[in-house]
Every structure is written in C-alpha cells, then in structure tokens.
C-alpha cells in the first residue's frame, strides 16, 4: 500500500480497522450465544437470519437502535451521554495497533505494547463516568467496584506484559511476536495465566463481573442506559474481548507463527485469538461470580506475586540463555 497517496492509505487503514472493530465483536458475541447455549444443553438463537440464528446480534442491534434514548432527569447530562464513547473508543485505538501479521496492522507504532496497555486502561474512565453521571446509587457502586478492580488488576497485567517484553527485548508487539519461540509457552506460562486472569478482570467478564453483578446492583454503571448507548457499552465489552484475545495471541501464542506464515500469518493470529475468546466464554459459563473481597484477594495475594515471580524467571532466562 506504500505506493498510494498517504491520505488514501490512512483512510483505507481506518476503514479496515473500523470494519474489523464492528465485525469481530459481533462474531465473538454470536460465538458466545452459541457456545454458551450448547454448554448449557440449549440451542441458543435459532431463527434470526435463518441459519442457526446467525443474525441474532444484527437483530439485537436493530432493536437497540429503535429504543428510546433516555437520560435521567438528575443525570449529569454531558458526562452521561459521553460515557459510552469514552468506553468504546480506547478499544478501537487498541485494535488499530495490534498487529495480525508484520504487514497486516492498522498502525505500526514503536512501543505498541505500552500504548495498548495505556489505552485499555482509559476504557474504565467511561465506566466511571457512566456510574457517576447516572445519579443512581447502583450505578455509582458499580463504577466504584470497576475502578477498584482496575487498580488491582492493572498491576499484575503490566508485570506479565513486562515479562514478555523483557524476554523479547522489545516493547513493540511485532518484535515480541517475531521473537517468540514455542518453548516460551512453558517459560512464560505463569505470566500467560496472570495475563488471562487480569484481562478477564479488566473486561469485567464473569467470574469477575462484580461491577455488573445483576443480582445485587442491577447492572452496575450501565443501569440507567438504554438504546444505542447501552449497546455501545455492550459492544465495548465484546470489543474488549477481541482486543484482549488478540493481544494474548500475539504476546503468548506467537501471533502469526504457523504454517505458510508468509501469506496466512494474519489468519493464524485471528484463529489463535478466536480460541482465546472461546476460552474466555468457557470460563464465563463454568465459574460463579467472585465476591468483591475474594476478587481483591486473588489479585494481591496470588496474581501480583505470580507476576513478580515470572518477571524474575524471565530475567534469569534472559541472562542464562541469551
């Protein structure tokens, strides 16, 4: 694409990233519908679109568009209205810098690992805004829980990524994936587990969905949202799964390394990411929600020490087998 005019290339890349951003979360969402249903002995959606309900999420989207957009009377209007976008956009940015292969990447940034981690952390601001602006005690509680969760789990996550970056000697996702070798699967295993758990917690996915806990605080920070704004929050959750799964695939599963990686590299990354997404869904179906104190305990008593240990292990590995 280098022979195109710069602005054409920018537009093309932006459109491609936007398309991926709109399509991939829907695929994950539909997979969740189906996998979760079959794991529970059900069929899941069967009608929308004709073949096994493939268009269910499209139908849901149409439904959300038709719904009334309500802003509570006592809400902080601008903050309330802005929150869904603040929650959504960071994942769009993150998706743009995650490489599917050395060539298939929205924007090739140098320290992309740092950028992705930083940007993902911004998403939580949207939840905090939503919870604060809703003028609803459940929303506020949910937002506080989400904030506390982010503070606890960001640390082990950063440490786990730091470990891989240390092993690869680079902060660029492309370089990390290129430096990856199969035996890293074992070497970086603790870090991978820490990263996966912390990613689940950041996404507020079960079993870490305390901020949403519908049996206690209705729907957490999103309680007051309706229509399209609510749909954006849901989209942000699934876009988050996509981003985290792809990130996991690039950091810990070697990204595009596989047969014919010259031509099919991007496909390998997507497939690996999809597998991780299925695992994320599987964990949701299998495990009950953790209590707030258990959740904090897990982060500080188990994940942070594990991540530090991994860091030490990586350091030893880097020094001993250069």
């Amino acid at each position: 694409m280098s022979d195109l005019a710069p602005w054409v290339e920018v537009v093309l890349r932006a459109v491609a990233v936007l398309a991926a951003f709109l399509v991939l979360p829907l695929i994950v969402g539909q997979t969740e519908h189906k996998v979760m249903a079959h794991m529970q002995g059900r069929l899941g959606p069967m009608y929308a679109g004709g073949f096994h309900g493939w268009a269910q999420l499209v139908a849901d989207g149409v439904k959300f568009v038709q719904k009334e957009d309500i802003t509570p009377a006592r809400a902080d209007r601008w903050v309330f209205r802005l929150a869904p976008f603040v929650a959504l956009i960071p994942y769009l940015v993150a998706l743009a810098v995650i490489p599917l292969s050395p060539t298939v990447v929205g924007a090739d940034v140098d320290a992309s690992a740092v950028l992705v981690l930083a940007v993902i952390g911004v998403g939580i601001i949207g939840t905090l805004m939503a919870g604060w602006a809703s003028a609803n005690k459940y929303s506020l509680l949910g937002a506080m829980r989400a904030g506390a969760q982010l503070v606890s789990y960001e640390l082990p996550m950063v440490l786990a990524v730091a470990s891989v970056a240390l092993a690869a000697g680079s902060l660029s996702l492309v370089s990390i994936a290129e430096a990856w070798k199969p035996w890293w699967l074992l070497w970086q295993l603790p870090g991978a587990v820490v990263f996966l758990v912390a990613a689940l917690a950041e996404l507020q996915r079960p079993p870490f969905d305390m901020p949403l806990a519908d049996s206690e605080i209705v729907f957490g920070a999103f309680t007051e949202y309706t229509g399209l704004r609510f749909a954006f929050f849901l989209l942000a959750e699934y876009a988050g799964i996509v981003v985290m799964s792809l990130l996991f695939a690039v950091l810990y599963l070697g990204g595009w390394s596989g047969p014919f990686e010259q031509w099919l590299g991007w496909l390998w990354t997507v497939l690996k990411g999809f597998l991780v997404a299925v695992v994320v869904i599987w964990l949701r179906v299998s495990w009950p929600r953790m209590r707030e104190d258990q959740l904090q305990r897990l982060a500080w008593v188990w994940l942070v020490p594990m991540a530090l240990l991994q860091l030490a292990l990586t350091a030893v590995g880097v020094v001993v087998f250069p």
């Binding site: 996998v35 249903a37 079959h38 794991m39 529970q40 002995g41 059900r42 069929l43 069967m46 599987w282 964990l283 179906v285 299998s286 495990w287 897990l298 188990w302």
Partner: protein
C-alpha cells in the same frame, strides 16, 4: 486459595465442556411437535350423546368453570296406561379453559363417560373470552381422543363380549342376569362399551366385541323397534312436537327429515345417538320382547 478450589474449578470446566459435546435438551416446539405421553391432558372433549346433564362435573369442578343448561322433557308412555317419563335435554355445555386448571376431576367424576382427555393443546386464543369452548367445539375434540389402552392379558372380557355370548334377551331371564353382571362389573368396563358404541370417531380397541355374532350395535334395529311409541301417542299429552314423529319413522325417511329434528332441538342431532335414545326408552319400559343392545341395558342398570 482454599483446598479443593482448583479441582472444583477444573470440574466446572469439564462439566460445561462435556455438555458442549452432548445433544441439547431444547424442544424446538413450533417446528417439531412434542412427543407427548399418550394420556396427556391437553383439552377436554365432550361426547354430547353420553351426557345426561347430571351436573356432577359442574359441581365437582374446583374452578366452577363448567356451564351446563338443560331442561326436562316429558316422554309419553309407550303402553296404554303406562307412566310418562322424564328426560334431560342438554341445551348448553361449555368449559371455560381460561379458568380450567386441568385437574381432571370432571372427567373422573362423570358417571357416563361423556368427558375425555385429548392430548391436543394448541388452542391458544388472542381474546381470552374465546377460550370458552361451547359444546360443539368440545365435541369436535372427540376426534382427537386416543383409543383406550388394550386390556391386560388374562383380564375378564369386556361387557359387550360377555353379553354377546349370552342368549338373546327374549329367551328366559338371561338378559336380566347379563344386565346385572354388567352392572356389578364395576365402572371400569362399561366405560369401553360406551366409548366404542357411541363415538364413531374413536377407533375400536383391539378387544372390541366381535361384530358377526351379536346384534348390530345401535343403528337400524332400535329404529324399527321405536315404532310402538307412536301407538299410544294419541292419548298422551304431547310434549315432543315434531321430533318424536321423526324418531318413529324408518331410518331412510328419518335421515331426510333430520334437519327438522335438529331445529326443534328436542333430540340430540346425531343419528346413531337418536336411535340409541329410542332404544333406551324402550328398555326403560321393560318391553321384554325387544332385543336390545347390551349398552342400553347397562345404562339402564346404572340409571
């Protein structure tokens, strides 16, 4: 983490993974009709001809959702100097399925097997008032009532088979014995008799009576026997206007004049049932020269 937590988590994952590979339990109802047990309680069907308006069902219904209207009719005596008899005629029979709780008490309690369970269940309505099924609608459900289950091997013969094996009623007092036997057999057996003779829609049970040897069920014979009813008609008070006359006519003519009988609605419209009623009357008057279907004697014994 506490001991046993990790195995628990792993077992949770294994359980969901296992269900993923197994067949789902979803009933795809509108696309695939469900396999219902044979005696499912779907809707209540009414055999109008069997109903004597005794009101037992309406009284026992916990929801009071059975509505019955009937009036009495006087039948003139068949013999000179005989006693005129009264008979109930069913005007309205309705079940409100918006109230019914499908307890089945009405069906259990009906002494004449006029009510039956049908497994049909797709009669939802947009307007709740349409769930009130009048007797024509209840009668239409009879077509969907499954045949009764076969008798257990080695059980006693059904009443009509026993009766058919006996000599005809005219010879000696055997008929009375047969009637008594039918009566004492218990409520269970005559159930079948009624169902098979009265409803043309129900396929006969495997143990149904052989048709060659016994008297033909109810159709033609009682119609000819009903002729005596016209004789004393002149000197009795006429309660039945047109229909009684039609009942007395030969079968062929009677089918021609049937619409008239329906309009006056004095007798139930169905041909076979009409004939059966006539047979009942004759039986009630104890005319020992007549050969009657066992069914009627049974009913007499129970009435």
């Amino acid at each position: 983490m506490a001991d046993g937590m990790i195995p628990g988590l792993v077992r949770g994952l294994a359980t969901t993974a296992r269900s993923l590979t197994r067949h789902t339990h979803t009933a795809e109802y509108p696309d695939v009709s469900p396999a219902l047990p044979p005696r499912s309680r779907g809707v209540i069907a009414l055999t109008e001809e069997n109903c004597t308006s005794c009101m037992l069902c309406a009284r026992e219904c916990p929801d009071w959702c059975i509505y019955i209207d009937s009036h009495k009719e006087e039948l003139p005596a068949t013999t000179p100097g005989g006693r005129a008899r009264q008979r109930n005629v069913l005007d309205r029979f309705a079940i409100d399925f918006s109230l019914c709780m499908y307890c089945g008490i009405c069906i259990e309690v009906c002494p004449f097997d006029a009510l039956h369970w049908s497994p049909e269940f797709e009669y939802a309505e947009v307007d709740i008032r349409d769930l009130l099924h009048e007797k024509d609608r209840l009668g239409a459900w009879m077509a969907t009532v499954p045949a009764p289950p076969a008798l257990d091997p080695g059980s006693a013969d059904p009443a009509e088979v026993t009766a058919a094996a006996k000599p005809a009623r005219g010879s000696a007092g055997a008929a009375g014995a047969a009637g008594a036997a039918g009566g004492t057999r218990g409520v269970g057996l005559p159930t079948r008799v009624r169902r098979e003779t009265a409803t043309a829609t129900t396929p006969p049970a495997p143990t149904a009576a052989p048709t060659a040897q016994p008297q033909p069920a109810t159709e033609a014979e009682p119609a000819t026997e009903a002729a005596p009813t016209t004789e004393p008609a002149g000197d009795q008070t006429r309660v039945m206007p047109a229909a009684e006359r039609t009942a007395a006519l030969p079968v062929a003519e009677r089918t021609a004049t049937l619409p008239a009988a329906e309009q006056t609605s004095v007798l139930p419209p169905a041909d076979g049932a009409e004939a059966e009623q006539a047979a009942d009357e004759a039986a009630a008057q104890g005319d020992s020269t007549q050969v009657l279907p066992t069914v009627s004697t049974d009913e007499e014994g129970r009435e």
